[in-house]
Subunit: 195 residues, 2 copies
């Protein structure tokens, strides 16, 4: 295997083994030493792969969210559905409704926080949001054609409303915001979808 | 002035002078030394008032949000209005529509991130959200009586939907999420309020 492929695979393996530690303990409370130990490396062993916590956070966000975990789950659970049913399912996969998705949300919020003041992280965040936006617009167009959604609001506005709500769930849902149970989040989503 | 009052006043003065630095530069990039310099103290001068960055963040959140900045502005701008108009105005004051509210949002997101894994911060967050929830429910009841809002959804669900959206605006609006301009945020709010 060429060295660069090997290197990329090692990075992926490390991220897969450490991302949820950030979600469980919070970025501020986790040190490079903790992450190194969690990945099963000796002290300093991650330095060929990641220079600092921010680089790991960036990779963890990309792993947890747009490119791996959430989207792989959505692809499976949506299957060959389209329209309103697919749109709703995609939202559900992003919402922190169980322990796994809660940890993803914690990584997402740590990343959003750092992205406020870091140009590179902001670009990654925009890419992730942009992918979801395109996918949601596609399902929404299908839902219009099928007559499942008839609101007079433009598609872009409907999608931005949903995206804002999803980000809000991730930030505030749990544990900072009890009462915002899985059932409550689903009620809110269904209210927005008019279902 | 009794010593304890003096102490509390010093803390308030320090927070007033440093809170926006957290919003402008991001919590991770700001050191205790930066905060101490911004407050005009010599090195170590903040230690009688705050033990660490988290204590300053906690105070900055309380200053920026529930108890001072935002709510003082809302009290002024709402005046003696009630009902739908007051509900809308309260939301607008929380939304990151200008530079000041953007900085408040950055403090809010840094705090929400830390609150995911810190029991004390989570309690403060809940208190802040709880205050807004009560105020919004009051205005919503008035809006129902005046016939301004006629949705069949329960008040608590309407309020939770609005709160989730506000938190979403704060997290994702700007700079991580361009396109979510002030005009766009207002369109989304007005869509949710049915206005």
């Amino acid at each position: 295997m060429p060295r660069s492929v090997d290197h990329a695979e090692c990075r992926r393996r490390i991220v897969r083994s450490v991302w949820s530690l950030i979600g469980r303990r919070g970025l501020a409370a986790v040190t490079m030493r903790d992450l190194t130990a969690e990945a099963g490396y000796a002290d300093g062993g991650l330095s060929p792969y990641f220079r600092n916590k921010d680089e790991i956070l960036q990779a963890a966000f990309q792993y947890a969210f747009p490119f791996d975990n959430t989207n792989a789950r959505a692809t499976t659970s949506i299957g060959d559905r389209g329209g309103l049913s697919a749109l709703r399912q995609l939202c559900l996969e992003v919402m922190p409704l169980d322990e796994m998705r809660l940890q993803e949300a914690c990584v997402g919020i740590a990343f959003a926080d750092r992205a406020q003041c870091d140009v590179r992280m902001a670009a990654t965040y925009r890419t992730a949001v942009g992918q979801w936006r395109e996918q949601m617009r596609m399902y929404l167009r299908q839902a219009r054609v099928a007559g499942e959604i008839t609101t007079g609001r433009p598609d872009a506005l409907v999608v931005d409303t949903l995206l804002t709500t999803l980000v809000g769930f991730q930030t505030a849902a749990v544990p900072a915001y009890p009462g915002m149970s899985a059932a409550r989040q689903t009620q809110i989503l269904d209210g927005l979808l008019g279902t």
